[in-house]
Amino acid sequence: MNRNGWIALTFHALFIVFILAPIVVVCVVAFTPEGFLSYPTHTWSLRWFRAIARYPEFVDAFFASLWLGLLSSAIAVALSVPAALAIARHRFPGREAITALFLSPLMIPHVVLGIAFLRFFTEIGLGGTFAGLVISHVVIVLPFALRLVLASAAGMDRAIENAAVSLGASGLTTFRRITLPLIAPGVASGWALAFIQSFDEVTMTVFIAAPGTTTLPVRMFLYIQDNIDPLVTSVSAAVIALTVLFLIVLDRLYGIERLLAGRAVGQDDR
């Protein structure tokens, strides 16, 4: 039951249709038995999902995206945790400017970052390498991790750590036994958000991905640029299904709005 009137509920229903329509359409068309784009009106078929396996370009791209996402989010979190603790706990000259710098990939258009990375990596000989891809992804997903870790570090009572120190714990022990467990939810969700951001990123990556290091979204984008067929639809449907699964788990663990509130600005959503 809710307190919205029927006008509000009608609007809400239309809004939900608007939000879900394109996502649902992709998933439905993916089951077409035909060789062309169409709705599976008579029977559903898995032929286009099976077809994915015959296109190593998508399979390879999927694994490239997976490793890239895992690696870059892990590095981003590893860098974010100490940085967030310094920013939340210490007052030092340049603190504000440094925080702004760390969050700047949220504000800079990803096209600009793509161009900047392309130029830079070409100059230093990392052009088209997986290492370059990882470095660039660490930079663009770090703000997401940082925000969530910062939020949990800032929300922590300083006295709790002081209590541990007064009981004889060293700095490292305090971090391991007290600080880390207490900011763990922020760290875990920061990692998850960073992973998804890396996994979905296309605008920046399209500039620096080489044939051997193409990620799944870039592969999908380039494919769609040429033509749209049921194959790319089934790939998209698989990606949507994976994301939704991940999302439901995340929502259970952390709450979607809390997760997203930390990312008021995301970049790759266009």
Binding site: A159, N162, L167, A169, R177, L182
Partner: protein, 347 residues
Amino acid sequence: MAFLALEGLTKRFGPYLAVDGLELTVGQGEFVSLLGPSGCGKTTTLQMIAGFVEPSAGRILLGGQDLAGVAPNRRGLGIVFQSYALFPHMTAAENVAFGLEMRRVPRAEREARVREALALVGLAGFEDRFPRRLSGGQQQRVALARALVIRPEILLLDEPLSNLDAKLREEMQIELRQIQRRLGTTTVLVTHDQGEAMALSDRIAVMNRGRIEQVAPPHEAYERPATPFVASFLGKTNLLAGLVRDGADGPVFVLDGFALPAHGAAPGPAIATVRPERIAFADAGAGLAGTVAARVFQGSHWMLSVETAAGTVLVIRQNTGAEMPREGAAVGLTWSPQDMAVRRAEP
């Protein structure tokens, strides 16, 4: 004999002087309170003793040793924080055990001491509860047990009872005092509650704006406040403006025709401080004349405010069942000379 000594302890935050040349000694087994209004630098002082805040100047000596180079985790002090600062992801027992773990106390001994400490604060059977499932008073006790179990050289308490409701606070005061007496742990308590400081302490250090104004046993500070601030901060007091004159038997304090001997006071305008409970009603026509403006019954005593030519005077009388003057009644007020402190009025 000084066990803990603060010598010229000073803390500046930028240009702001939070703690200003504190001098204080605490004897072994003594219970000393730092009492003062909010923002006077109590917590900062405690944090300097604990090692979390670095002094700008001055020394802290523990058993004769300067603590300056000693890291906070090596000072061996027990601290109870205002917010309790329990580890939320550990059970009561794990909280209490943490300090022992850090000291590498063998498991068996550790468990015994944890149980003993929790029993000491009346929490036997609560070992496996997580903090969020304990009441405020129980959390407070866990925090106390956690600080005591390491057998600290000094117990530091920062407003430990201020988050409890009035009734629980009184119970905890009594308990705290008993535990401290039993263990003989040297204790420094920070509080802004004068009742708490007086109930618990062997001596009170009254602080104001980063300075200690008086260090004395509770009754002494109350009876003979060293400064007007101490007088007004410790309990209620009346400040009466009058004149000191030389009389036949030495100086007298004169107030609207009512005169009392004031030994040692210099002639001139002066201010007398008198506790409200030391003021009695005089026989008709005698004493300082006034009119009862209001009276409030408070169970064990009455509070009356009396309008006089020297201003409003607060009077507290024990409830002995005797009749009290009603509002509007004309009364005379009197008190004995030794209940009055006379100070030269600042020009």
